[in-house]
Point group: C2
Chain length 226, copies 2
DNA sequence: CCAATGCTTCGACTATGATCGAAGGATGAA
DNA sequence: TTCATCCTTCGATCATAGTCGAAGCATTGG
């Protein structure tokens, strides 16, 4: 009857509350064990196991077994992007899971999205880098310019390190709260990790919120002015 | 337990096969009546009615009543963008509804996506306009440059006509097949309509496929060179 | 007014799948 | 080896919601 990709299958996969909780928890980018995800989703280990199997079969998750632990993570940035897009729809039409509170405002300001910075802070960083032509956009492809390479190495990140990852260096990711692009991809993750190492930012425990330290606040404005 | 938008609600809404068919049918951009959608979805009128009610309540659809007909359409470009994103996931993970056939190849080349041009043709048009600086990208916002305004009016579209629409003039939409951006928004729709008026393109009946005429082929290459 | 069409509501049936208890396999620690 | 932890599989229960037949509104046309 119809042709094209089977959208219902994927959507139904995301459409269960327990599975949606699991996926949302994994948006933070860290790989989590099955039991951790069970508690995140608010179901027993058995139930979570069956959900994880389905998500795995559906290609949304990736599994790495380490000893008796099984670590699950999102299978790729495209999954994260789709989830953000769905969040945008849900938020735009006023279906917030909980009432909009101070926590939401914090999330809107800075949060982690699959290991890179999202929220107004993330958008600010992206805009700043675009404005100064450290990044350039062509179509949907974002690339690091020559000036950008210099900037990044002076920022303290070594991009020349060998990598076996085939993931794109730069990737635009649509922000559900700000409705603008922020930087994802390997570079986005590296910059996030770097700021974490320098104690500019700390992750909220059990939350996607990102807290800027006083130093971080100052440095961020200095490196990424509008 | 969790915070943020209620993603499961929206995803579950899209996750039913009948509703997914309805939404996919509406991706073509035209408003369709309840009975038309019922036949598209392959269910009876009663069933479709209940689905349409739910989609309406969920904010995914928009309703305009005309006489005894009720015309349903997608509530906005953000909905279309999310659907495309889901298609990308589904296609990427190999869940095609039907076997990949010639029809799919045609769809990949040129199709209508919420009343604007998508597929490799759509991407080509977008790239061409970006390259020649008729469009400029800043973050997620796409804007028509001064040169772009000149180009559009020589193309034969009058943008000075008064509009009560608050929809953005330019909007990037991620293509599920090409995985690049193509032009959506009011301008994207206007350009599509213009090419339709000039018989450069015709829509496939009951399909999202777009057929280029010989004239259209030639003109398209002339106006949007790579 | 009546008849026809488009659409929705109601009610009942049914199936899918979400859930958890219990049990079993796998790994690591002692 | 023995025990504990992590995780999965099996089986049974139960609720949600997708489906359609029948009936009821609403609108149009004669």
């Amino acid at each position: 009857m119809k042709n094209g990709p089977d959208i219902a299958r994927v959507a139904a996969l995301i459409g269960d509350p327990a599975r949606a909780n699991i996926l949302t928890a994994l948006m933070a980018g860290k790989a989590l064990t099955a039991t951790e995800l069970a508690s995140e989703a608010g179901v027993t280990a058995q139930t979570a196991s069956s959900h994880l199997k389905r998500l795995l079969d559906g290609g949304l998750l990736r599994l790495r077994g380490q000893g008796r632990h099984r670590y699950y993570s999102l299978s790729g940035p495209d999954v994260a992007a789709t989830l953000e897009s769905l969040m945008g729809l849900a938020a735009g039409h006023g279906h917030l899971r909980t009432r909009t509170g101070p926590k939401d405002a914090k999330l809107r300001e800075a949060r982690v999205c699959y290991n890179h910075l999202a929220g107004t802070r993330g958008v600010q960083m992206y805009r700043s880098m675009i404005q100064r032509e450290l990044l350039s956009e062509a179509g949907d492809h974002v690339t690091l310019t020559d000036r950008g390479h210099g900037f990044i190495s002076s920022f303290g990140i070594d991009l020349s390190a060998p990598t076996r990852s085939k993931a794109p260096l730069c990737l635009g990711c649509l922000d559900w709260s700000a409705r603008e692009t922020h930087l994802a991809g390997r570079l986005g993750r590296a910059m996030f990790a770097h700021m974490e190492d320098r104690d500019w930012i700390t992750r909220g425990i059990g939350s996607r919120h990102v807290q800027f330290s006083a130093l971080g606040q100052e440095m961020f404005e200095q490196w990424f002015p509008v």
